[in-house]
């Protein structure tokens, strides 16, 4: 693995759209070529090198390219967008759309991220050592196919609307979450180690939500079924199982109606 290091040296007047900061765009390029890649501030196109010091070297392929980014990136959007492989490590807070539509590889953010992280994610790993904003791992506006694969791990809290229209993959939140979790979900798994507020699984067709802490208010469309013991993938204990959303349409498999499932921890 070869490493390219970016260090932010100039802040943008507005926000920087840096969808070219991916192992895919960097692979096979020299440092000068990387500095020549486009970034945008509003309608103006700039060179990446105007905002970042670029050093190190890129691998021949995305898979063999690692990007380490230092400095204050709290006004930078779209890092790691659509990446297919390799690695990005960001030592800063980040603005919106980190790892949006990513397909492979790994992004580690040592800081907080704003909204729309992991939008429409298909594969790979997005690790956030901090808090995440709203719409984590959600579908892009108007798309009914949300996150379909990969894994998002947030050590802190997350905002509202996580996993909207999710069809697969996994989101693990270390802390608490805001309202609307897995709305319209048709698959996938969300694990909340802290507390949840309300509107979990609204209009949910299929998929699983695990909550280790409290739930302020259960949707009326979720009915308690039974207590179950679980021990898998770090999820261990006795859980109360709720099924729903009873108001929503559901598929049948082998004559059985398949519901969305909410598991709430009763005892570890």
């Amino acid at each position: 693995m070869e490493t390219v290091t970016l260090t932010m040296k100039n802040q943008p007047d507005l926000y920087l759209e840096a969808d070219n900061i991916t192992p895919d765009a960097f692979a096979g390029k020299k440092v000068e070529e990387i500095a020549d890649l486009h970034v945008y501030v509003g309608r103006e196109q700039h060179r990446l090198g105007e905002f970042f010091e670029v050093s190190g070297r890129a691998g021949a392929t995305p898979e063999t390219t690692k990007i380490v980014i230092n400095g204050d990136l709290s006004r930078v959007k779209y890092i790691g967008m659509k990446m297919t492989g390799g690695e990005i490590v960001v030592n800063s807070d980040l603005d919106m759309y980190v790892g949006a539509w990513m397909q492979g590889g790994r992004i580690t953010v040592n800081g907080n991220v704003d909204s729309f992280a992991g939008t429409g994610m298909k594969g790979g790993e997005l690790i956030i050592n901090g808090n995440a904003g709203n719409y984590l791992g959600a579908a892009y506006r108007g798309d009914w196919r949300g996150m379909s694969g990969g894994k998002i791990i947030v050590s802190g809290n997350a905002g509202s609307d996580i996993g909207t229209f999710m069809t697969g993959g996994e989101i693990i939140i270390g802390g608490d979450v805001d309202v609307h979790v897995a709305t319209h979900a048709e698959g996938g798994r969300i694990v909340i180690k802290g507390n949840a507020k309300s509107r979990l699984g609204g209009q949910m067709v299929e998929g699983e939500i695990y909550v280790f802490g409290t739930i302020d208010l259960m949707m009326p469309g979720f009915a308690y079924r039974q207590d179950v013991d679980i021990d898998m993938d770090g999820i261990k204990g006795r859980f109360a199982l709720y099924e729903g959303d009873l108001g929503e349409r559901h598929r049948k498999r082998k004559g059985q109606t398949i519901y969305g499932k909410i598991y709430q921890l009763i005892e570890a």
Partner: protein, 437 residues
């Protein structure tokens, strides 16, 4: 002497009443009286006759006072702030005609602006939901002629759309609704006992911010599944009863307003409301319609819909249209310092945006295009007064049910005043000069 102009369109609310009569002077320069309109609609017409009306553009001086400038100077200022900005915001558009909106869209494209309309603080959330799950809707004519189950959710037409109930929803006798209100059942869902709730057969006094849960409960009830004893503060028996009342109708119409579009859940509430409508179509005919506020906010969404593919919050900065409420919406852009110049037209964010956003407008190069003196004109650097659309100039507007209606000119504007359309056209010309294209 005076004469009466009939079949005039009221340019105030989304009901867009088309039966107004206006008495004007023979020379067409004075408007004397307005008939058939409700109080707020009549006020809009009469406002054009105000003695202290501002008829020339003004620029704010360093000491805070206004200095009168020419339209040419205002055009130059507007063109320059848009050309010099990296990402200008062009906001408003809801109280002007589609012709002006179309030119504004072209300016937005040329300068790489974000264009947003008042839906952003109103029914934008409805538009998100429509994009997510579609919408079974209808026209107000169908409501008048067919609907026998009327559900008002989070809206109060008695005050916000005063003639809506008499012209379309509750009282009129239509083709299949010859008995008028006596054959209609009305349900109102509102946390407050409003004047609309007073005429309802059932008033569900939902707990504030629990609409999403109540919509879900309706869906559970339609399917005959079990509900908890209370949902959103309402006993389950009452929910089953209301659900039955809806199912038993021949034609159900659900009207909803800002009580659900801007309370907790926002687009999710509407998403669930549309799902309720869809479910009802398993049993009877049902449609749903947003109670749009400004008379042509719907038209603004139409114009951008056909030009850019999105109805509001369209970011054109990169040369193609992007749309993501939460990022490209006016308040988010202002709050996050994402824009560096502001043009406001045909709306009043100064009165309706949070103070933090209004302060950002105050700090940026800004121009307000508005016939009135408003809280917005107070914080902008330049105020461009224009003719009243629908009173002093005609043009196309879209009613809340997406029916286009041509508004009419009934009186002359004060001498030398420009219309929105003329002003924007000149700004576009000036921008092209400055850009050298």
């Amino acid at each position: 002497m005076s004469r009466t102009v009939t079949d005039v369109i009221c340019p105030f609310c989304g009901t867009l009443c088309d039966d107004i009569e206006v008495v004007v002077s023979d020379d067409g320069r004075k408007l004397h009286e307005v008939y058939n309109a409700c109080a707020i609609g009549a006020e809009k017409f009469l406002h054009s006759q105000a003695k202290d009306r501002i008829t020339r553009p003004r620029m704010r001086q360093d000491d805070g006072s206004w200095k009168e400038i020419t339209y040419d100077e205002a055009i130059d200022y507007t063109a320059r702030i848009l050309v010099n900005a990296k990402k200008p915001l062009m906001y408003g558009w809801s109280s002007t005609n589609c012709e002006a909106q179309a030119i504004g869209s072209e300016i937005g494209e040329v300068v790489g602006a974000v264009v947003d309309n008042t839906a952003t603080v109103c029914h934008g959330t409805s538009l998100i939901a429509v994009q997510d799950i579609g919408i079974p809707s209808c026209t107000l004519g169908e409501v008048k002629n067919r609907a026998d189950r009327i559900l008002f959710w989070g809206c109060n037409p008695a005050h916000a759309h005063p003639r809506h109930m008499s012209r379309y929803s509750i009282f009129p006798r239509g083709f299949f609704t010859g008995k008028g209100h006596t054959a209609r059942k009305v349900i109102v869902v509102d946390p407050r006992p409003t004047d609309t709730a007073n005429v309802a057969d059932i008033h569900l006094q939902v707990e504030q911010g629990r609409d999403y849960e109540l919509f879900d409960a309706f869906r559970v009830a339609f399917k005959g599944e079990q509900l908890p004893d209370f949902v959103a503060g309402i006993p389950k028996e009452k929910i089953y009863e209301a659900a039955e009342m809806l199912k038993s109708g021949r034609f159900v119409i659900i009207f909803f307003g800002m009580g659900v579009t801007q309370s907790l859940g926002k687009n999710h509430n509407i998403d669930a409301a549309i799902a309720v409508t869809r479910d009802l179509n398993e049993y009877t005919k049902a449609a749903i319609m947003p109670m749009r506020g400004h008379y042509n906010v719907t038209g603004s969404g139409q114009v951008w819909g056909w030009l850019f593919g999105f109805p509001y919050a369209v970011d054109l900065s990169r040369g193609f249209a992007r749309y993501n409420p939460g990022e490209t919406t006016a308040n988010d852009l202002l709050r996050r310092d994402e824009v560096d110049a502001v043009l406001v037209i045909a709306s009043d964010p100064g009165a309706h945006f949070p103070f933090s956003s209004v302060r950002k407008i105050y700090e940026l190069p800004s121009v307000a295009i508005d016939p009135h003196e408003t809280p917005t004109t107070e914080v902008c650097k330049v105020h461009v007064p224009v003719a009243f659309v629908g009173v002093e100039v005609g043009g196309c507007a879209y009613r809340m049910d997406n029916v286009p209606i041509e508004t009419r000119k009934v009186v002359e504007p004060p001498d030398g005043m420009m219309t929105d359309e003329e002003f924007l056209r000149r700004v576009l010309e000036r921008i092209k000069e400055l850009q050298g294209v």
